[in-house]
Symmetry: C2
Subunit: 162 residues, 2 copies
């Protein structure tokens, strides 16, 4: 039995007590951008309920063109106005450089990725980088409530990056 099959059995149990549907637009008018890390249970760590916020996640919780796409759709079509960015301690992205990643992939596949891995040596600095990328973008509408945080995977606590 694959992991996927096990999780489908979980889903069947979930559906037994599910009550829906909720409205499409997030009721808290919030979008969260967080790392894909398995230890970041975004709903739980923010106390979010179903239907309250868009949740965008990727390796590092960085802001690239695809996060801008998601944020632009979130704000322009679905009414969100506030953004929370979450990086975290013990992040894999702190352990290598973009060049090292490209070298390793090229050695393995013969092809050098045309995209950067978006690794970073400093958590707080990359949170600031992500905020700056949003503030500089012409397609994101609401930029006055964008705040960035580091989640501590040992304590469960968010610390704001100024």
């Amino acid at each position: 039995m694959s992991v996927t099959d096990e999780l489908l059995a979980n889903n069947a149990r979930y559906a037994e007590t599910f009550s829906g549907p909720l409205p499409l637009p997030p009721s808290r008018q919030l979008a969260v951008v967080a790392c894909m890390d398995a230890r970041l249970n975004v709903y739980a760590l923010l106390g979010l309920n179903d239907g309250e916020a868009h949740v965008i996640r990727n390796a590092g919780g960085v802001v690239t063109q695809d996060e801008i796409r998601s944020l632009a759709i979130s704000q322009r079509l679905l009414g969100t106005k506030e953004i929370i960015l979450i990086h975290h301690t013990d992040c894999g992205m702190l352990t290598f450089t973009d060049d090292e990643f490209k070298d390793a992939v090229q050695k393995d596949t013969g092809i050098r990725p045309p995209w950067a891995a978006e690794a970073f040596p400093d958590l707080e600095e990359d949170v600031r980088q992500s905020v700056a990328r949003i503030k500089a973008d012409p397609f994101v509408v609401h930029k006055d409530r964008v705040r960035g945080f580091v989640f501590n995977v040992a304590t469960g606590r968010l610390t704001e990056v100024r």
Copy 2:
């Protein structure tokens, strides 16, 4: 008090009973790619626990270059081998076309986005498209266990797309 401030108060309560840290690599060796929709509580609907799976999310749950970046990092550096893709009923991405979105943004900002919104007219077909993009990519390592699903926001149930 902003929504963010309210959620920070939730986080302080969360941290009181938090026990960590868990290991960095996802214990289920799984990556999930899902839509950012506020009604998709990915951990709950799959019965996932903290530390078990990478969760990648964006507008639509589509696979673009940034999801390939995240999946390549997930598999190459953190040992995941299985991928679950989740789209859902009542998705905003079904309600417009890429051209319409670009037209609207250009009208509002004067600048036409150089990126596509990645809207789609058919849920199942876009799940297949996302699977196909992963299978065709040279940088994702493990492609034999990639399965796609549609989550029903009225019933809470996942249906596999073949």
